[in-house]
């Protein structure tokens, strides 16, 4: 269905263009915070829209829902180690096993729902986009089975651990007028956290990747979920 996906692409492109034109003429180049937030919202929509148009089967929906619920519940299981959470690892695995579209949904819906329990905030929108993209890129990488190579897998996990705080700090600084010095001043106290997240991601990928992949592949076979290229 090439026409359908290209319509959604055109719509998104028009939206983004409209936001940028607004940003330049209406806000006169100020208000980065709103602009970036709007762009984050409108970048999420085409993924949802595409999934919606495909009219997925009940089984596909259930698998994604189960993974999201597991991601949220896992946060409770590891609550005794603060900050040490397997959510990102689960999203990476979901993207690798189920493909990029389901990976995006797993990531962004886990962000939305875990924020329903732990509190929504201005960061929710960015979190939905970033976690979604983490799942999407995992799916993209695994199209050629790249994540089966340990080096790529672990470096991807490390990048994902660092990415979130780097981007959120960038957006915070952007809101009040960007200077490199201010950005670095905010990043330095965040460094230990980044290292911590990267270590926790690598640990979880180390322990969870193989068993979880095995389980998911078995589920795929049993539920009759095949890869995207076989889908009509």
């Amino acid at each position: 269905m090439p026409t359908k996906s290209s319509t959604s692409k055109i719509i998104t492109a028009l939206f983004l263009l409209a936001i940028l034109i607004n940003f330049i003429f209406f806000f006169k180049g100020n208000n980065y915070l709103i602009t970036s937030m709007l762009i984050a919202v409108f970048s999420c929509l085409p993924f949802y829209y595409k999934y919606e148009r495909r009219k997925p089967e009940a089984r596909e929906i259930i698998v994604v829902a189960v993974i999201c619920a597991l991601a949220v519940v896992s946060r409770l299981l590891f609550a005794f180690l603060p900050g040490f959470k397997p959510i990102i690892a689960i999203i990476i695995i979901a993207g690798a096993a189920l493909g990029k579209e389901s990976g995006f949904l797993c990531g962004s819906l886990s962000a939305l729902i875990s924020n329903m329990f732990f509190g929504q905030g201005p960061w929710s929108v960015y979190q939905m986009l970033i976690w979604g993209l983490i799942g999407y890129c995992a799916g993209l990488l695994n199209q050629k089975d790249l994540l089966d190579k340990p080096v790529i897998r672990y470096s991807y996990a490390i990048i994902c651990g660092i990415l979130f705080s780097v981007l959120i700090d960038f957006l915070t600084v952007l809101g009040s007028g960007f200077t490199m010095a201010k950005y670095i001043a905010l990043l330095i106290p965040a460094l230990p956290f980044m290292a911590y997240y990267a270590i926790s991601n690598v640990t979880f990928i180390f322990f969870l990747y193989k068993p979880f992949m095995k389980k998911l592949n078995r589920v795929k076979l049993k539920y009759g979920l095949v890869d995207e290229q076989y889908r009509v």
Binding site: K28, I62, A65, A69, L105, L208
Partner: protein, 294 residues
Amino acid sequence: MREFKTFHPFVNLLYFVAVIFFTMFLTHPIFLILSFITSLIFLIKAVGLSEVKSKLLYLSVFFIVLALVNPLFVHKGATPLFYMNGNAVTLEACIYGIVFALMLISVIFWFFSFNKIMTSDKIIYVFSTFMPTIGLMISMILRFIPRFQTQLKKIIEMNKIGDNPYKSKSIIRRLGVIFKTFSILVTWAFENSIDTANTMKARGYGLKNRTTFHLYKFELRDIIFIVFIVVNLLLNIYLYFSLNMRFYYYPEISPITIDLGSIINYLSYFLLLLMPIIIEIKEEIRWKLLLSKI
């Protein structure tokens, strides 16, 4: 905020989107102070004074850090206060730091209230009107979570037999048993949910001409509220641009204008923010009147 909560979900959403958008868009200090005050009143009304107090400590730390970062690293501005390492700390940068911190704090306050008003059922409803599949997924996830938690408890109880490995002194043994628990949960979750998938299929999920059910009705007051918000938004945007209310902090702080037009602008913005609180107070008075009649 009992009364505002009973409004249609789209009304709640529109109000919060409008308010949060304006709080982030208008950097004028008077607009920001109005938004901050209202967000605080709204939050106290929504969650109670004691819960707000418990959050105040870390929010004030956050506020101070944000307000300090700007003057320390931005040296724009016309009036230097003092010099530090050869760099000027300017009045403008100090004030902009405070204003920016105030804005972020008000947005966070609005989001706290958003969490109280937009409960998960309303978010599902909003999603499902535009994207039924995503809405269905969210509602399923919200059902699965308590179900998995119950199962998790059962698995943990089972594993506790013998010497309790969850309280073991060696952290490796403890982590090992937790990973084992998680693995059991994952297998169980997938095996169990295949029933749900089969049931959905058997009951005709995805067929044409199926109806849906929800509890929300669009009433007259919802329409009035939406019309009020839209008219107020348009008025505010018109006044803002026709009076040229844009506020500049660099290189010099622009003066705060107080004339008829700008006062109308402040008041209409304040009214937009206050509307749910006014509705709430009106209902409280009505309730007391009804009580006094008994």
